[in-house]
Every structure is written in C-alpha cells, then in structure tokens.
C-alpha cells in the first residue's frame, strides 16, 4: 500500500467546556446538554448517541438547568433569564427576564402546562407555557434564602423546593408552604456551614429524596415531613439526583466523580416492605458530576471533566450488544479543524477565536516508524478573535489558503489572507451581501471562487468571490421543505456539485453551475456523520452515525456497485462495534481507489480495489501483514486498512503533497488542564 509522511499535530489546545446541566426527552429520545460556556448540544440517543445539533454559546448566557416541554427546550441561568431555543435555526428563540435574581433551577410539571423556576430571592415562580411563548403566572410564597432545586409532584399539586438547610413543600393551587423539612448540617468543621440542598426529587408516593452539600442522600415522607432514611454517601457534595421513569431507582452524582444508585427494593428476600437501598456505585468521572439522567437502559452523567458518559445498566440487557457498552463522548461530532491542502495551512476553531497555523517541513526520508528531523517548525500565523458576544459556530478556510470565513449566530465574517513568504496580511472583506446573516456551515469551492453558506431551513446561499467584491448569486433550496439545519456540506473538486446533509438525514446534491437541485440521495435512517465527493468519479461517499458506508454516484443518481456489494456483504462486526462516529471523509487524488476516513480512535484507508472483509477475516490485520513476507501478503489483504497509531484524533487530511495531517488532542492533555478534583484520602496519605 505504501508509506505516508505524517504531520503529527498536537498543538491544537482544544478544551471542551464542563457539563453543567442535562435534560432527557424520553419521547423523542433526545438529550439536551448544557455546558458552562452557554452552549447547548442535542444528542440523538435513538441514533447511536449522535450529536445532532449544537447551539453555540454566548458570553452573557449561563445555563443552570435545562427542561423539555414536549419538543420544546427551555433553559434558565444565573443571568436571571428563562430562554427557549429554536432547535431548527439553532439559536435562542426568546429570553425572558424573570425578575427574581439568578435562577438556579427550572422544571416543568408532568402535564407540560407550567414551568416552575427557583430564584435567588427565595421565590418559586410559575410560568404558563403558551403556544409560542411562556407567560409569568404567579409566585409561590416567598421564602428566606435561595431556591436551589425544585421538583414537581407528578400530580402537579405540590412542589418540593431545596433551599439552604431545608426543603419546603408548597401547595401549588394556594401557593402556601405546607411542610418544612430541616436538613442536618455536616459533621465536624462543616457544622458551621449551611447545608445546600442541591437536588430534590418528588415521587408520586409523596416520598421526597434530597441530595445535599453534606454528602447525604435523604429520604423523606412528604405527607408528614419526617425523615425516613439517611444515606451518607460522600464527604463532599451530592450535586445531582435523577429518578428513573418507573420511580424504582434514583441515581446521585457526587463531587468525587461517583454516581451512586439507590433502588426501591425489599432489603431482604420475600419481604413486602420496600425501602430505598444503596445498591451500586459507578466511578467514571474524575471531577464533580453536575448533571445526571437515568434513562430506560442507562445512566447518563456529565460534569466538570467535560465528558459525557453513558453507563448502561447491564441488567436491562439480555445479550451483549452495541447498546450495552459503556460509552464516553469526549469530542464534538463535527469538524473544528480545517486544512488548506494546497497551502499546508491549518485552521483551528475555538469558541472565542480562530488560529491559523503553517505546518512544519522536513526534507528527510526515513523508515516507517521514524521521526524525521524538522527543517522548519510549525508556525502560528494568525490569532483571530471573534467580535461580539456570540461564540463562533462554524468556520472555513479555502484550500488555497487565501480566504477565511467564520460565522456566529449574529454575523458572518469573511477575510482575505495574503501570505508572501513569511509575512501574512489579513483584510476583512467589507460589504457582505445583506442576505448573509448567519450560517450553520461554511465552505469554499475548491477554486476559491465561491463561498457556500448553509442558512435556515436547509437552504444554501451561494456567494461569488472575486478580488474586488463578493456578490450574492443564488439561494439553493431543498424541495422537501425541511426546516432542519444543515450540519454537513461538501463540494466537488471540479466545482460542479455541492452536497448538503441536514438533521432530518436528508442529503441533497445541487448542481452549482446550473444552480439547481440535482438529486436527493435516498434517505437512510441514521444521520450522516461525514461525507465527501470523489475528485475524479464524483461519487458521493457518506458515512452514517450507525457506521454504515454508502457510495452514491451523483452522475448516475444511484448507488455504486461497490456500495451495493458492501451493503450486500455487510460491514465487519468490528467496524460496526466502534463507538465514535467517522467525522471526516477525504480522498487521495493520486490514487482514486482510496477513501480516507477517521474517527476518534483510528484512521482508515479503504481501498476499493481490494476484496471486502467478511466476518471471518481478521479485520485489524496491519500487524499480521507487517510480519508476513512480500509474497504472503496479497492473500491476507482486504479493503479496510486501519491504523491505530494515532489516538484522540480530531482531524485527518491529506495534503496535495501526499502527506497526511493528523491532529491529535490527547485526553491526558485535556485532563491536565482541568481544575484539581476534590481531595480524596488515598492509601493513608
């Protein structure tokens, strides 16, 4: 197959933001995840936990809690506002000042008619959910001290609210506080500190379960206001609680990074009386577990260590399957790195800035496995800070390295880059067409003559670029009338074709020269996670979240023979078992048979000329091939050539000089930048 020169890049200091809140919509199987930087991510749990949508953050926005009402998503934060999100245009629909100071929590009643928020000033405010907005209804009796957590009784008649040192139970119709449950303080030195009730859960049998800063999970009787049971689970805080749908299990997240499960079971066999018993402890986090959701078959947790962990409950599975594996989501399922193949430039996208780097050079040659001596070190050419409060949601770099564009929620900016030798000059293109307000995706045509911007309702704006001006050309609209945003966009090298994919799993192919829709690829049930158009054959290769690979001939408007063969034979189980989606597809112009793919843990070259592996074939066969003689190899070759040398991959691209660029972001480097975890006594220290 051959040797490749690899630029192993580790200087992209990507740092995901900590997870602050999450809400699971059991109906749509979507998980909404709120991060510290104010961004919201939507994961589709029905489609291999694919990260479908990302709503970029904003400096002034903070998210303390998220809440689904039907298909609508609300958040509340310490800025004192309640926000509803438009999940189609990926932006806040509106924000409402609640006038109660910082808001700590938001929950809806089970009927979905009302929202309750807990405010710093001690009020619980009720909002009525209307068709297009929400409306303030009334305050419950104001208390001394902040309201930190709220839980509705399933009937909607009562609300339990966690406060400092106590839990209040309100009667919703009258607004009166009917119970006051006093929560003990911690032992020893923490006796003087107030206990913060971080989380409450109100069950339908009027049991209240609370988690507090003294490390206790307490079970209360909501009728009488008496303490039933105390579980001291940690020396630190219990930060989050989540109850399963059938109310038989409650999970608690602690500052130690543990998730502790309690189950409502009979403590001894053949006994009728059930009680809440601590059953299992999961330790998948190193830092605070701030957000928790117990879904049908798994516990989803996230916290300060920025990773989303889906921990399946193995008793819910009869056999080992894709869903029964522990899953950790570290990286976004979209590109943050853009490579100018001709110029050898890399663009890194951060929420607050863009960085442009020139790769290093080496003129040495070496054996496989060697590191070559560097002739020139990589160089940071540009550090471009965004303007305004809104975070960058997408960016693009033209392959010649002459154009750079980025978009926030409120504006798109386009820059002209000029590099002569070591000097770089950047000029902002002044007058952009008015129609170009914001974009979900940006991409330049390969000859850098056009800019494509994915706009609302799956439409694409075509902008013509020239030295003197940039001009709006056309809006490409899908026939389907989908309102979902485009999350993938790619164009062909010959400049003829543009392909888009949206969250409805629709893939449209447009003829850019004729400015019209060419065809729609048959819709497949899983969302495409990466796609690319072949430079010579103009075949569209798509990889979906469920790891399936399709190749579609744009010219012939049908799947290629290779794709049919692949579907007929089926992909190897080891390929399907991978738990991170492929996020990039690219091709080797010198060798049209080769398709380059990567996910977080591997990089793969598919050679279409070679036989496909069947289930009995050794799938990861590079080591075997290495050990075989030249003559012995052909019989063992198959199409998937997988290299796992590089880990924690964010991007793989092939430069025009046939060298690969691998952008790694070692998880260890992310971990090392996290704040110190709570101190735990270990081994008699």
């Amino acid at each position: 197959m051959g040797e490749f020169k690899v630029h192993r890049v580790r200087f992209f200091d990507y740092m995901p933001a900590a997870i602050r809140a999450m809400a699971f919509n059991a109906h749509t199987e979507r998980l909404a995840l709120g991060r510290m930087d104010g961004s919201v991510e939507i994961f589709n749990f029905a489609d291999h936990y694919f990260q479908e949508k990302v709503i970029p953050g904003k400096d002034s926005r903070s998210i303390e809690a998220l809440c689904w009402v039907g298909g609508r998503l609300f958040s509340a934060g310490l800025n004192g506002e309640v926000t509803e999100y438009d999940l189609e245009s990926l932006r806040p629909k509106y924000s409402l000042e609640a006038y109660g100071g910082p808001i700590w929590t938001i929950t809806s009643n089970s009927q979905g008619a009302h929202l309750a928020i807990g405010c710093e000033d001690g009020t619980v405010k009720l909002f009525e959910v209307l068709e297009e907005s929400i409306q303030f209804e009334r305050n419950l009796d104001r208390q001394k001290g902040r309201i930190l957590s709220i839980s509705w009784h399933p009937s909607g008649a009562q609300i339990a609210a966690g406060m400092m040192d106590m839990i209040r139970v309100f009667d919703v119709p009258t607004g009166r506080a009917v119970q006051r449950l006093l929560v003990d303080r911690g032992f020893g030195g923490s006796k003087s500190r107030e206990t913060v009730v971080w989380s409450v859960v109100f069950l339908s049998d009027f049991t209240i379960i609370s988690g507090d800063s003294a490390g206790k999970v307490q079970v209360w009787d909501g009728h009488t206001g008496t303490l039933v049971k105390t579980h001291l689970v940690t020396k630190w805080d219990v930060l989050a609680l989540s109850v399963s749908k059938d109310e038989s299990s409650v999970v608690a997240g602690t500052s130690e990074g543990t998730v502790i499960q309690f189950q409502f079971i009979a403590p001894t066999l053949q006994q009728q009386d059930k009680e809440w018993v601590r059953t299992r402890t999961f330790k998948n986090h190193t830092h605070d577990v701030r957000a928790l959701a117990e879904i049908e078959t798994a516990i989803v947790s996230g916290g300060m260590d920025t990773q989303l962990v889906v921990r399946p409950l193995l008793e819910k599975f009869d056999e080992r399957s894709h869903a029964s594996a522990l899953r950790k989501i570290h990286f976004p399922h979209r590109n943050l790195v853009f490579c100018a193949k001709k110029a050898g430039l890399l663009l890194f996208q951060f929420p607050g800035q863009l960085e442009l780097w020139r790769l290093g050079e080496s003129d040495g040659h070496g054996k496989p496995g060697d590191s070559l001596p560097l002739k020139r070190k990589p160089e940071k050419l540009l550090h471009l800070k965004r303007k305004g409060e809104d975070h960058i949601c997408c960016s693009a770099l033209s392959s010649c390295g002459g154009w750079l564009a980025y978009s926030t929620m409120s504006s798109v900016r386009l820059y002209r880059l000029q590099t002569d030798n070591n000097d770089i000059s950047i000029t902002k293109v002044p007058k952009l067409p008015k129609v170009l307000r914001s974009a979900h995706q940006l991409c330049f045509s390969s000859d850098s003559s056009k800019l494509f911007a994915a706009s609302s309702q799956s439409s694409v704006l075509v902008i013509a670029l020239s030295q003197s001006e940039c001009k709006y050309v056309h809006t490409l609209k899908p026939k389907s009338g989908s309102r979902q945003p485009i999350h993938l966009m790619t164009n062909s090298v010959d400049g003829k074709w543009l392909s888009t994919a949206n969250s409805d799993c629709e893939i449209h192919v447009y003829n850019v020269q004729k400015l019209k829709l060419h065809c729609i690829v048959p819709v497949y049930g899983s969302c495409p996670s990466a796609m690319g158009i072949h430079p010579t054959t103009n075949n569209l290769t798509m990889v979906h979240a469920d790891q399936q690979i399709f190749e579609y001939s744009i010219v012939e408007k049908q799947y290629t023979d290779w794709s049919r063969k692949l579907q007929k034979q089926g992909l190897h189980n080891l390929w399907l078992d991978r738990d991170t989606p492929v996020t990039h597809v690219t091709f080797n112009p010198k060798n049209p048979e080769q398709i380059l793919l990567h996910d977080m843990h591997m990089f793969c070259i598919i050679d279409q000329s070679l036989p496909l592996p069947d289930q009995k074939t050794q799938f990861y066969n590079q080591m075997t091939l290495r050990s075989l003689s030249e003559q012995g190899r052909p019989s063992h070759l198959h199409a998937f050539k997988i290299c796992k040398t590089f880990q924690d991959l964010l991007s793989v691209s092939l430069l025009d000089d046939q060298s690969l660029v691998m952008v790694e972001r070692p998880l260890l480097a992310i971990t090392s930048q996290l704040p110190a975890p709570v101190r735990q006594k270990k081994f008699a220290t």
Binding site: V6, V9, R10, H365, L372, L374
Partner: protein, 721 residues
C-alpha cells in the same frame, strides 16, 4: 564485652626535668597478689599494696647513683633485684631497710634489664644481647660476657616469658632502621633472630607486648600510624634454621589516630581478643589523645574508653586484672573486665530488634548507646558511677551483689539460689546485667553439670529472657536444658539465641522428634507459638477450603511417569490424608522453633545425617503437613509474631532430602511421602518460574513506557499494508 571500672590513684609522681621521660621506669609484681614494685626513673624503689593504695616499703640508692633497670622480685628466693649504674647488681630482702648494706656484685658488661617471672629464675639481659641466669652470674660476677649484637645494634625492648618448662627472653633491637626480634630460649639455650617487616613510613614501633598463648608466642606491636600488628612465633618445636628469619605479621587493629601520628602510646594485649591502648584518641571525642581504650580485635570495635587527665607517657602495665597507667602527676590503677566475646553480644543481638522493642523493659544495650551514649567519658561518667555506687550502697542491705550471688551459686540449695538470682535480675539495670548475666548463667550451668540434683529452671529461664545471653556466652546451657527435658527453656533458647551452632540445633531436633508426645503435652510452652499451632491444626479440622483453592500437587502427579499409584481414596480427596497432624501439638511447636533457627546448610547437613530413618520420615511428614496447611488457608489467619515461613519449610525439606535421600528411596514407607514432596518442589519451581515470567514481562512494560515521547509536533513515517 569489656569494661573499665573506676580508677584510683596508687601514688603521686614527681616530674622529671626532662618532661618527655616518664617518671616511672617499671612496675613489677611482688610475690603477693596485691603488691607491686614500682621503680622510679632515678633512685628509688617502692613496694605498694594496691588495694589499700599505700606504700609498704621504699628503698633508695645513694645520691649520685642511678637505677638503670626496674627492680624485680625473685619469686624463688623472695628477694628484690635491681641494677644501678648499669653494672652493679643489688639484691635485697623485704626486711632490709637500706640498699647500701645489701648484697651487690659488679659485672663485667653493661646490663640492659633483669627479668623475673613467677615460676622461673631471674635472667639478666646485657646490653650487647647476652643472657645469663642471675644465679650463675652472681656466682661468678666477673665472667666474660660475649657480644651477641653487632656494633650499632641497640636493644629497644625486652621481656621474658615463663611457661611450664620453658623460659624465653624476647628482645627487639634496632639497627639503622632495621628492627629485629630475638627469641632466646633457656635450657637448652638457643637464639633465634627474626626480622620485623618494615612499616612503610619507616617509623619504629611505639610499644611491644608479648604473651604466650596456645604454645605460641604472640607479639603485639603498635606503630605511630595506629596500626596494631600481631606476629606469632612457635614456642615449642625448636627451629633449627640458622640466620635471620622474616617475621610475618598480621594487622589486628587500625586505631583511629586523629590528626598527626601517635606520639607516646602503648598497646597491651589483655586476652586473645582484647587490647588496651593508652595515648590514642577516642573515636567519638573531638580532640586529645589522652584516652585509655579497650578494643576488641576480632570485631575491631571499641569496648570501653576512659579519659586520662594529664600527660600520658605511653606506658601501661597490666597485672591481675588491673591496668597501671602513669599520667599527669599520678599513677592510676584502673580495674578492667573482659568477658568472653561473641559476635552476638558485640552486635547487640540485632536479630531480635523487633522483640526487644516490644519488651523494652529488658532492652539489650544497643551498640550505639554503648558507644555514643556513654560518649562523655569525663566528669559525667564519674558522677554517674558515684551515684550508682550510692544507690548500690543503699540497696546492699536487702540485695546481694553479683559477686555474692556467684558465691552463693557454688554452695547453696536450689531454692535460695533461685530466689537470689531472681532478685538480682529483676533489679539490675541493663548495663550491669549485660556483664553479669553471662557469669551467672555459666556458674549455674557449671554447678548443675557437677551436681545432677541441682537444676534451676526458673532462674535460667529468667536469665535467658533478659536477652543479654547468647549461646556462645554459655555454650552448655541449651544442652543442659535438653538433658533435663526442660522444653520451655529449650524453646526460649531457640527463640532468643542468635548463634546456636548447627550441631546443637540438630541435637534439639533429634530430641524433640523422638520424645513421646505424652511427655511434651504437659509442658507449658510459650503461648503465642502454641496458639499459632492450634490455629493451624484447627484450620484443617474446619475442613473449609478457600474459594478458588485447588490442590495443585495431585493434578500434577497425574502426568508424572514415575509416580507411585496411590490408594484410590487419596486421589479422590487429598485433604483426608492430611487431616491429622503427624505429631502432637506441643511437639509441633518445638519443631517450629527448630525450623526458625538460623543455620547455614553446609554446617547443618553433616549433623542431619545423625537422624535415623523413622525420625526423618516423621519430620518430613510434619513438614508436609505444615506446607499443605500453608498452601490452603493459613493466610486468612491473623499473623503471629513468630511462625515458620514457607521458604523455611521448603528449605528444611530440601535439606532433609539431601541428607537422607538414598535411605529414603530404599525405605518402603517413605515412597508416597517422597512423591508428594517432589510435587511440592515442582509446584514451587513452577510458581517461581511464573513469577520470573511476570517479572520479565513487567520489565518489558517498563521498557516500553519511555519510548513514547510527547512532543507538540513531529513528522513521522508510517507504512500501511
């Protein structure tokens, strides 16, 4: 151990004009054990009673005459002999008042020294090396005296040694930097000349000291660089070789000399292991060379030290357990004691450090505290001893001193001896005990050996438990205990003695293994070890097996071609066969003690052959039992202070098999045992080879780690196939 006791002054000294000269020429013994004859450097001879520190008589030659050799006592005629003005020999008796009126004879050549020793006639050594017996010389004073030495050869030092039938005069000479030792044997007269090895610096020895030991003359000499050498000359066996022999030497001790070299210093051998040195620095004192120290030459350790105030002239005499050292303006007498030394006592029995800590009330004085704890040798030490003297005085009303108890042991009945020893041990402080315990034990054992009826188990046990005792101090103790079937004492000794010879260990083993179970079960033994053994036996009786346990040996046996087919029920249930301990509980406890005794296999092996086949088989069965218990579930037990380790058991099995293999192979009842034991060894070998594998693979891991360097950027080459 050795100790220096409190010094006392025998007499004051008159400073001579020349400060470097000593005011004392010599100190010699009198016929009385408490008397010494001190000859000063000028004209007078004084007889002292040492214990009373008072002169008994004094004789002076006339003004203008000079004593040129120390006065000696003729033990045969009870007369004193001295030489004045090199040529005049004077002889006088105790009752003579003035030297002027006594017998004198003038000889024809200059006399170097007159030497006298108990049991021998005085001899006269002339300056030119000739030797005459005093009697024969006085019978013909003017007889011609031949020259033995060459022109420029001068005598530096001389002594005479009288053994049973032999009489030697030793003297060293110096000629142009070359030093020789002459050994003159009398009756028949022979003269042997030896050349001393030259020291690198060319310096002359500072002092000599000679003694007769094991029919060899030992010459000990000290050089200014602090080296103490010993040379040995055979006393018997006349060496017919003519001419000068080289005298080989061995370095016994290298004293710390501090800055510069030693000036006036002297070393004298106290016994085969101890040397007293004056005029050398104390290793832990900062400055000054005015110390008297006792060193152990076997272990190169300082045993005791004492600062001598005032100028030291590099003279020391040693008579009757006392050291005589002139220093400053006084002649001091320092009684000393050297105990038989053993490595165990020298090292403070480090092996038992753990136990010593737990029973700190009878802590063994550690080497450090002996050396450095008593470091300030000056005034504080004196104050301390005064205090202890006072306290001793106040106690003496109720309690007896060590010496008194030692006397008691020789005669009194068992009860009384037991009581007194007990009292002594319980009140004595550790420092004193260290010295006296050995003596007490030796005396007790000696009497027990002499009178079979006399035996004091409690007292002996108590002495052993002080942990100041070791086997080499009292070698007969353990054997005595065995003889008297005092198993408790045996156990104590095995536990606490660090230096039991292999032959004794084997004797114990033999006794223990052949003793009927009934005899031992009544004996009370140390409770810790008994409870350990009880636990071990009970573990099997419970019958429960640890989760995951599989008897490895029987599985492996199946592939063994040479394996003897076993009775079928054995194969089915291996634990059945091992249920019972082959020996009684207390016997097992005693055997455990033997297992834990330190030994070196080269020395143990020949003695193991003394065991007969039945004993070997029984012991092997017991070892097998313990091994199986260990491989089952002993590790769930609470750890006991003393229990045999797996390695010890395996080692003993190997040793026994080595010693008796041919016999065991022939014995029909040992066959099953042997094949079992072979499988133990196999499983151990397997275990260790597995561990070896793990070790190497762990090392591989170690090697793999650093190869990953993490740099921000690199260009690498990969190859895909």
């Amino acid at each position: 151990m050795a100790a220096l006791y409190e010094e006392f002054t025998l007499c004051g000294l008159v400073q001579t004009q020349n400060a470097s000269d000593s005011p004392i020429q010599g100190i010699e013994l009198d016929g009385d054990s408490d008397h010494v004859v001190v000859t000063d450097s000028t004209r007078s001879v004084t007889l002292y009673k040492v214990s009373d520190q008072k002169p008994l008589g004094s004789w002076t030659v006339k003004q203008g005459q000079l004593l040129t050799c120390p006065a000696v006592f003729n033990f045969q005629t009870k007369e004193y002999v001295v030489v004045s003005d090199n040529k005049v020999i004077r002889v006088w008796k105790d009752e003579d008042l003035s030297l002027d009126k006594t017998f004198k004879a003038t000889v024809s050549a200059d006399v170097w020294r007159v030497h006298s020793a108990p049991g021998g006639e005085p001899v006269v050594l002339f300056q030119r090396g000739a030797v005459r017996l005093l009697d024969s010389l006085l019978s013909a004073p003017q007889q011609p005296i031949e020259d033995v030495l060459s022109e420029e050869e001068v005598i530096r030092w001389s002594t005479n040694i009288v053994a049973e039938k032999q009489h030697f005069v030793l003297f060293t000479t110096e000629q142009k930097g070359e030093r020789c030792l002459y050994v003159q044997r009398l009756n028949p007269n022979t003269l042997q000349k030896y050349r001393l090895e030259r020291e690198d610096s060319g310096a002359a020895p500072l002092s000599f000291s000679a003694s007769l030991r094991d029919k060899h003359l030992n010459l000990l000499y000290l050089y200014p660089n602090g080296c103490v050498y010993q040379s040995v000359v055979a006393a018997q066996g006349y060496v017919g070789l003519e001419g000068v022999q080289p005298l080989p030497r061995s370095l016994r001790l290298r004293l710390p000399v501090g800055e510069g070299e030693l000036g006036a210093a002297s070393a004298v051998a106290l016994d085969e292991a101890h040397v007293a040195v004056v005029g050398v620095p104390h290793p832990s004192a900062r400055t000054g060379k005015d110390f008297l120290c006792i060193w152990n030459t076997n272990f190169q350790t300082l045993q005791a030290g004492k600062e001598m105030v005032g100028r030291i002239h590099g003279q020391v005499w040693c008579y009757l357990g006392k050291l005589f050292v002139p220093h400053g303006k006084a002649l001091s007498v320092i009684p000393y004691e050297c105990q038989k030394s053993s490595l165990a006592s020298a090292l403070g029995k480090l092996r038992h450090a753990g136990i010593a800590v737990s029973k700190s009330s009878v802590a063994v004085p550690s080497w450090n505290t002996l050396l450095h704890g008593d470091q300030p040798q000056g005034p504080t030490k004196i104050v301390e001893t005064r205090k202890s003297k006072l306290s001793r005085k106040s106690q003496s009303a109720q309690a007896l001193t060590v010496d008194q108890v030692l006397e008691l042991i020789k005669t009194r009945p068992v009860d009384e001896v037991q009581r007194e020893v007990e009292a002594l041990v319980s009140r004595g402080d550790a420092q004193d005990l260290q010295l006296s315990v050995g003596q007490l034990a030796c005396h007790l054992v000696a009497r027990s050996q002499a009178e079979t009826a006399f035996y004091t188990p409690v007292a002996l046990a108590q002495l052993v438990q002080t942990q100041c005792l070791c086997h080499s101090v009292c070698p007969d103790l353990l054997l005595l205990a065995l003889e008297h079937k005092d198993y408790f004492l045996c156990q104590l000794c095995l536990q606490l003695f660090p230096d039991i010879p292999e032959v004794v260990t084997c004797a114990c083993l033999k006794t223990f293994i052949s003793v009927p179970d009934g005899d031992v079960e009544m004996v009370s033994l140390e409770p810790d070890s008994v409870s350990f053994m009880e636990g071990l036996v009970a573990a099997g009786a419970r019958g429960g097996q640890q989760n995951g346990f599989s008897p490895p040996l029987f599985e492996e046996d199946s592939c063994d071609v040479n394996h003897q087919p076993k009775p079928p029920q054995d194969k089915k249930n291996p634990t059945l066969q091992l249920e019972a301990c082959p020996v009684g509980l207390h016997k097992a406890v005693l055997l455990n003690e033997v297992l834990q005794t330190p030994y070196s296999d080269n020395f143990l092996l020949p003695h193991l052959k003394d065991l007969n086949t039945q004993q070997v088989i029984l012991f092997l069965q017991y070892l097998q039992f313990v091994y199986l218990k260990y491989s089952q579930d002993i590790y769930t037990q609470t750890p006991v202070l003393r229990s045999p380790t797996m390695t010890q058991i395996i080692d003993w099995v190997c040793l026994l098999l080595d010693a008796h293999f041919t016999v065991l192979v022939m014995a029909p009842d040992a066959k099953g045992l042997l094949s079992n034991l072979q499988s133990f060894v196999k499983s151990q070998v397997k275990l260790f080879s597995e561990l070896g594998n793990i070790e190497s693979s762990l090392q591989e891991l170690h090697k793999m780690k650093p190869s990953k360097d993490i740099s921000q950027y690199s260009i690498e080459v990969i190859e895909l196939f």
